[in-house]
Subunit: 354 residues, 2 copies
């Protein structure tokens, strides 16, 4: 028997990574590092039977519990969750869409601050994740490396002296490390510089994409930059390289924001204040739209134009105004049009209006 | 020498017709009746020489002045006005675009409340106009008829016992009367009922069009309904007929507004509050846009949703946020983008914000 956890806890807190306390958090939302690990002697999840998956999940859970790998751990077996709760975990950036759709023994272990998490039986047996506010790659790596070492002491990792850690997908072979930085780039988006950024990053083998992983588009000027391969590079080299690249992008973004501010047509200022007006007064707001408004207001806060909303409140709205969060909040399934109305109401409440 | 009048007076007042005090003024903005008259023995303006136009203008002005036809009259000779001042009079619904473009002796006489006005040397020698708030056809007709009688006592009207009053354009021959009702029909517009209204009115020989006369489109759900011909009908019959038609349109509009209010997706409510938010906070607002926002807020006031703006303030914004009014306010020519910014600033000031 796994522990029974209530997802209600997610309705009364936000992850530490959303507190906007990290370095460069005017532009960098979060830094995430993930490691892919598999167990020797257990079949990869893609070819495992239901029973084998259950066996793997039980084995990993017991080891984590017994050795107190994660302090004050929360543990969710996906089987016990409703569709809304699963989607809630996706919106929370804690599990992948893939994992949310599975009905065999799949699980999520995490610490209370939502900084450290482990997906069990996703594409790999273990997906270790550290998620921090702002640009904190070195710090995140230390925590993740520590977690990885502790697990390796109690679990038999599949490792090849030639290839490194073995993974289900070849792009993760080697260090098995994937770094992903979430950035807010309205300046580059409005001024149509993103195409250049895309081309440059792709050329040097980095991936840039929208907010919810592969195949998605940027919503509200939020992007993820990630490394593409992890074979043949030491972790620290990859971290250094991505650190330098992100700093370049930040510089570029800041320069364009300043140019935009000088625009006599007040395009940016207008966009910011309209977003503010619509969030305050709109009666029905779609999820596509809200990302764009929150993006504008985020810039407004950075530029000192908007003083009565802080970035943390904005981040909370970002997370809690998502479909599954709204439905969990109301404890029922809502149609798209009902969600749009409850979204507008929630935003007003958060902004202390009426 | 004509009197020298300063158009500055228009910056400190609005016409009485904009005070939203007339009957049905939740839907009917204004009632306008116009008469076309020409002088016997003077050539029509389209064939008159510059000298003849001057002669006609001088003659008419002197007669009006000497006989005190209009109490506390304002008089503007178009020649003495800048382009911005001419456009201001168009935006004010006091002269036609045609008259604004002419450089020979053309003039406007009006009373201080802007209810009574006479265009001199437009298409006809005299265009008499009465403009009132809401649906006031009978009242307007009495005032206009009285003005017409007084003028007829001192000016030799061109009149044929067969055709009635002779006019430059055959559609005005007969009574020379043109009635025009300005309506606000957001309910019928949003629910796509306007096509039906157009067809019905056209079939019974009425004209329906946008705010600034022929060839314009409806801006912000505001429409003008006018009669098409004036030959062969007594004035009172035409007035009765248009009165009945307008009452039908009003009933139809009210019914659709009620249906819209029951819409669970809150489409109308959302449109109203977004408009409110954008007017309060936008930094740059185009003239196209503002008409649509003012339209939404007008409905919001009618439905009791918006309580801190009254219809008169809204009407003032409607008039003063037009290009020539904004430029007159700043005493200089402004580019479209500068106007959009000053428009947003003006609106904020009127709504008492920041």
């Amino acid at each position: 028997m796994g522990m029974v956890m209530k997802t209600d806890i997610f309705m009364t807190q936000v992850g530490e990574w959303l507190k906007a306390t990290g370095p460069e958090s005017d532009i960098v939302i979060s830094s995430r590092i993930r490691l892919a690990r598999n167990l020797k002697g257990y079949p990869f999840t893609s070819i495992a039977t239901k029973e084998q998956l259950t066996e793997t999940e039980t084995y990993i859970r017991e080891k984590i519990e017994q050795n107190k790998i994660i302090p004050s751990m929360l543990y969710f077996n996906l089987k016990g969750l409703t569709q809304i709760e699963r989607n809630l975990l996706v919106e929370r950036h804690l599990i992948s869409k893939d994992l949310a759709e599975k009905n065999s023994a799949r699980a999520l272990a995490l610490d209370k601050t939502e900084s450290i998490s482990i997906m069990i039986n996703e594409e790999d047996h273990l997906r270790l994740q550290v998620l921090k506010s702002g640009l904190q790659l070195t710090e995140s790596w230390q925590i993740l490396n520590d977690l990885d070492n502790k697990l390796e002491e109690v679990l038999p990792y599949a490792f090849s002296s030639q290839f490194g850690y073995l993974t289900a997908c070849p792009t993760n072979v080697g260090t098995g490390m994937r770094i992903s930085i979430m950035l807010h780039l309205p300046g580059l988006t409005i001024t149509k510089q993103m195409e250049k950024v895309f081309q440059t990053l792709t050329r040097i083998k980095f991936i840039i994409r929208g907010l919810y992983g592969e195949g998605t588009y940027a919503t509200g000027d939020f992007y993820q930059i990630a490394n593409q391969t992890s074979l043949g590079y030491a972790e620290k080299d990859v971290i250094n390289e991505i650190h330098n690249i992100i700093h370049e992008v930040i510089k570029y973004e800041r320069a364009w924001r300043e140019k935009l501010l000088l625009d006599p047509s007040k395009q940016l200022e207008d966009r910011i204040w309209r977003a503010y007006g619509i969030l305050r007064y709109g009666s029905s707001i779609s999820s596509q739209e809200i990302a764009s408004y929150l993006s504008a207001i985020r810039v407004g806060i950075t530029l000192g134009l908007i003083k009565d909303i802080d970035t943390q409140t904005l981040n909370e709205i970002f997370i809690f105004s998502q479909p599954a969060h709204l439905q969990k909040m109301h404890n029922k399934t809502l149609s798209a049009s009902e969600r749009d109305i409850t979204r507008a109401q929630y935003v007003k409440k958060k902004l202390n209006i009426r």
